[in-house]
Amino acid sequence: MGGTTGTHLDGGQRLQVLDALVTVLSGLYAHLPAKRAAYATDPVQALVLLRRRAADLTDAEFHLAVTGIVLGLRDAHTRYRGPAVLRGHVAVLPFVVEAYGPWADPTFVVTKVDPDAGADGLPDGFEEGVEVVTWNAVPVARAVEVHADRETGGRADARRARALESLTSRPLDFAPPPDELWVDLGYRPRRTGRRGGSTEVREARFDWRVLAPGRAGTAVSARTREALKLAVDPAADAVRRAKRDRYAARRAWLDTSLPDVLAARPLDDRYGYLRLWSFDVADDDAYLDEVTRLLGLLPPCGVVVDLRANPGGLVWAAERLLQLFADPGRTGGPVQPVRFELAATPLTRQMALSPFNRLELEAWSASLQDSVTTGDPYSRPLPLTDPAWCGDRGRAYPGPAVAVVDATTYSSGDLFAAGWVDNRVGPLVTVGQASGGGGANVWTDTQVRDALVGTGVTLPDLPAGIGFTVAVRRAVRSGASDGVPLEDLGVAGIPYDLTRADLLDGNRDLLTFCTGLLDAAGTPPEILPADRGGTS
């Protein structure tokens, strides 16, 4: 596809881009101290240095340099969006690769194949279940490692998970198009896989295609108050939508009014399965209503709540959802939401004082002003979801519940996982080391620009549709993990390694593992079926 952007920026326009990013990263970015510590980098100084040579670079070099600096934050919330040539598009290959097995020795398999892969069709024997061996003639494990170095994610497992995903899906809002025009894939046909004893490796060439996955009508709209309460990985959400459009569900799900973000089905006569694809909804009440309805259709003895690859969305939706599963007897009271804090900087102090931000930021203002004397690098932490809203409905599912996350469960997904653990809602199973570790409320450049009104600080106009997203309020956990940040750390639970059957047979082993946990949790006798000793 090539790495060009097709839009030329002159030297002055490049300085506008860099100055805007310096203003935001130095004055507003919620994780700057942590990122400097964790990665021994100084993105602000890097941007300042880039400013000196920006006019000498080609367009591709410039965007790559900016992207590299921002990617170095390893923060999927904080992204640079290049020129708007391919805004809203995702470059895809006609298949999906996933990994199973232990972290040190993963096996990569094709788990989905696009039924509309093109007029030329797919190579003979290329189907779900084939094992991927090489990627452009590089052993696939190494190829993933190399690619992970260019990915967000604060932990190695998180970067690998993202790298694996972006091997076949690249959201073009946040990264240049793939350098390679095509991908040569080495694979073992399914019938002669390694575990079958064959070493036959075939090769096939796949071209990138560009899709424009739309957003659901139920998603959060820009410039609403809900849009200021987002915690989401926008790139991962674009990939999620691109996959959704291409790979039809093979399972029989219950009908739902929110198919973009929800799915549910019974596993058997005792247990149910709830899939939370995303929290990207404009109306969290409607979201809770629908989940409540679906839970009512599932068997009552236990439910597996699967948030793998959930890129986040509306914070209110994620945090309020917890109450539907929370047994007050276990949680010890209402669900406590995660809290958020602002970096204490001259800019955030100005923003909090601006009369135009009073409703949004006033609650943080006093502690931000006090930080001048206390030296505290952050404001006091406050919830974005009012605690009263986290208990305004109460429990909707009578049985025990287990939640499943992985390293691509991100942002509001992390918040949900944190709330699940910290409020002792139920067991948390983590595929990988922990959830993705996206701990912040994320704003767009437009929202930042709006919030600067009345501060005396303005952002330079950004040319060519260039933009950014930035982590504005850092999330810290409540309850037993009070004060622990989510960023990079994520939420750890009971570790689980995916199996081949999980990838190719509907999460068979994972669900068995989870229902085992539900068994161990015990089902209240009053909701057990009568033939299993229930009392009703």
Binding site: P355, A388, V453
Partner: protein, 523 residues
């Protein structure tokens, strides 16, 4: 140039021609130059200044020609709302941090005001500034913070006025408590010529907020360009600390009695040389405008046995604030004299022999015949609107009278705006606050899209934004209810002190019946 001929009450700084015991009023003409200033004030019916030989003169007979009234303390964003009380509050509030914690505060004030500033900011300004005009107000403090502050639109906004210079540092204002460091910064700004209007020591005498006055003292704020709003919590003895370079206090007796049951010690202020000015304060705890507040001042002064003449009180809405503002503006309002800003009010008087100050004090909305701001007729009877060639007039019913108001869109100052459209838009927001807020946010145009259909007439211009200036109250982080359907906007309050409003004073608030006396002025 044009002139208004009638019985002029100039309140001019040059008092030499005024005989002792005289009101200083005379039959004469106020001549208004094309640049919005008073060219001259002449005595008698014939005198004309140079250059005015062909100038049109509007003769208002025995009516009083008075400096435009100045309201030195308001919060315009809330001025569509009714009087507020907290049902659970059985004793007067202690201070300004007490009532924002009341259970019904946010829902009664912040939420409905937010609905209007978000979904109909231009119509909101049109409504509340017209309300001020109806009471003869030509200059008002407390305009909502806005991202594109304007020089005079309908009423002169103290906070935003720059007289065409674009200098927005002439006047600073703060409703919320400022830190000592911020006060020190303001002290130096005042030394450089700025005015600082600061809510300072608002509460019951001796309550902890009196410390704000002490902080202001320590910071060096007690200067002639300092306007302390309320200062009723301050021990009157401390007013003497200001006597070396006295500034002003904005006195809002209605609001004080409504919330705290006591008010500022005006005689002590005057004894210290501090200038006392009146402010109507916001609608949830104030009068409709300073014409109403004048009556409250009379009632309260009489109730407390203070010796304050009607002229003393009239000066609190004219010359006193005019002189204070002149310290920052370098321009005079509140007095009718050559070179002053041509802000003029014409009030009905039954004959040329009535006591002018008593007449002004007793005037009600029906007595306001013409209001001129910056030399431009902005509010008038239909006849005077025609005679003065009011620009962009739109009919408005005020009480029982058909009047005219000169309305344009606040964001551009030129596009005509009809009163009916203003009211229709505000009513539409009232009918569906959630939908209106959501739509306004979604459009990214917190401007009066409903009037024009667009957020801005200029490509690339930012939307016109207003902000709230009062405490937001207790509530969830973010200030608003989760369900915006809980935002209820009460009916638009009338522009006048009508029977319903007077009835809402009786038996509510903490004035112990003192404010019930207002009714006699409106019978």
């Amino acid at each position: 140039m044009w002139g208004i001929r009638g019985r002029v009450v100039p309140l001019a700084a040059d008092t030499a021609p005024v005989r002792a015991g005289s009101s200083g009023a005379f039959v004469g003409t106020v001549w208004i130059d094309g640049d919005g200033t008073v060219a001259a004030v002449t005595r008698g019916r014939r005198a004309r200044p140079a250059g005015a030989h062909d100038a049109q003169v509007v003769d208002v007979g025995s009516s009083l020609v008075v400096p435009g009234l100045v309201d030195l303390h308001n919060h315009l964003a809330y001025d569509t709302l009714p009087l507020w009380t907290e049902p659970a509050q059985k004793v007067p509030f202690a201070h300004h941090d007490s009532w924002p914690r009341a259970a019904t505060y946010a829902a009664s004030t912040t939420w409905p005001a937010y609905a209007f500033i978000t979904a109909a900011p231009q119509e909101l300004l049109a409504y509340v500034e017209t309300k001020a005009l109806v009471g003869g107000t030509t200059t008002i403090q407390g305009s909502p913070p806005m991202n594109r502050p304007r020089d005079g639109w309908l009423v002169r906004n103290v906070d935003d006025e720059s007289f065409g210079t674009g200098n927005r540092d002439m006047v600073y204002a703060s409703v919320l408590t400022a830190t000592p460091a911020a006060l020190a910064t303001r002290a130096n700004a005042m030394r450089s010529g700025s005015l600082f209007v600061y809510h300072c020591g608002e509460g019951q005498r001796g309550s902890l907020v009196a410390r704000e006055y002490a902080d202001a003292t320590a910071a060096g704020c007690l200067q002639s360009r300092f306007v302390a709003v309320h200062a009723n919590a301050v021990d009157p003895v401390r007013y003497a600390d200001w006597s070396h370079d006295p500034g002003a206090v904005a006195w809002s007796p209605f609001s004080n009695l409504w919330l705290y049951g006591q008010t500022t010690d005006v005689p002590a202020l005057r004894a210290a040389g501090v200038t006392v000015c009146l402010g109507a304060d916001w609608a949830p705890s104030g009068t409709k405008h300073v014409l109403g507040e004048l009556k409250v001042a009379r009632i309260v002064a009489d109730h407390l046995g203070w010796h304050l003449t009607d002229e003393d009180l009239v000066r609190m809405v004219t010359a006193n604030p005019g002189d204070v503002l002149a310290r920052a503006w370098g321009r005079q309002v509140g007095r009718l004299q050559a070179g002053a800003v041509a802000d003029v009010v014409v009030l009905h008087a039954s004959s040329s022999r009535v006591d002018p100050f008593r007449t002004i004090l007793r005037a009600v909305e029906d007595d306001v015949q013409l209001v001129v701001v910056d030399g431009v007729p902005r509010y008038a009877t239909p006849a005077l609107a025609d005679e003065t060639a009011m620009p962009t007039p739109t009919p408005v019913t005020v009480g029982s009278r058909a009047m005219r108001v000169s309305l344009t869109r606040p964001d551009d100052g030129t596009t005509p705006l009809s009163w009916d459209a203003v009211v229709a838009r505000l009513e539409a927001v009232r009918a569906d606050p959630r939908g209106a807020i959501t739509a306004a946010q979604a459009s990214g145009a917190q401007a009066s899209g409903a009037v024009s259909g667009t957020a801005s007439s200029e490509p690339g211009a930012e939307p016109f934004l207003l902000a709230l200036d009062m405490p937001t109250g207790e509530g969830p982080v973010g200030g608003l209810p989760h369900d915006l359907g809980q935002v209820v906007v009460p009916p638009l309050q009338s522009l006048v002190h009508d029977a319903d409003w007077l009835a809402s004073v009786h038996g509510r608030g903490f004035h112990d019946g003192v404010l019930d006396g207002l009714g006699v002025y409106y019978d």
